[in-house]
Subunit: 167 residues, 2 copies
Amino acid sequence: MAQSDEFSERDGERSIDLPDSFDAGLFFIGRIHTPWRSRQDCPKNSSESDAVCTIEVEARYADGLKDLDTASHVIVLYWMHRAPRNLVLQRPRHYGETRGVFALRSPARPNPIALSVAELVRIDGPRLEVRGLDCLDGTPLLDLKPYFASTDAKSAAEVGWHARTRR
Amino acid sequence: MAQSDEFSERDGERSIDLPDSFDAGLFFIGRIHTPWRSRQDCPKNSSESDAVCTIEVEARYADGLKDLDTASHVIVLYWMHRAPRNLVLQRPRHYGETRGVFALRSPARPNPIALSVAELVRIDGPRLEVRGLDCLDGTPLLDLKPYFASTDAKSAAEVGWHARTRR
């Protein structure tokens, strides 16, 4: 896989040997179109941008969008195709401390599946317009799901290390 | 892939031909242990059960859990390994209407990645105890992420078709 300099190992980080073979396979079912062409351009997180992005679902899967237009928000799963997968301990530049990969939303993870909750603006055939994404233009799409507040919204949730960092 | 009778095509459903090859590969990074041994036993959704389930992360990835214990809730991504992947239109038995797969949280989808938001009870080495899962015992784990209320909680979100069904 492509490993660019922006992902090179920093002091305190740790990489592991990955297994020799995969356990399951994924289909890229579409592409996400955004205004951002490099990782530096991307917003830090989805709440930092109001840009309307376009998700284009491949024709063979388009029937699967039926009734999704009744949802106000969708869960978008996508593939962080440029990220290395072996960094179990990471030191994000903007935090400066070493944390476990599963305590971070870093794109670099054993299975680089990213998740965003996006506001659905409209659906036109195989194309969705959404607000609230922060990924690179051309990012491969893995899945779309309706967002149910009853099970997915935990307004009181806290991430201790992050709250302390921001104080 | 294994397709059991519970997933056979029903009236109004539609299956597609899937691509000949995969675009990316996944590692199973652990297993989820729950009280449920068959799909019929599983709760309909995570809010229907308070059972504490155990997530066992494989030793090679265990360092990646550092600092996750400061999070109150975790996003659990797992692989629905028994589900067919070609049903773009589905008629769930308990709703009785045909909907697109991307408007449903059905395990049967082109990339059968499921997502649950679980309450973190404790972490002991490579083992997490969580509340709020509804999957089969032995389900393969794909990823763990900290849940950030600021970007992940959308309390006012609505799914129109579902709200109408429940009235």
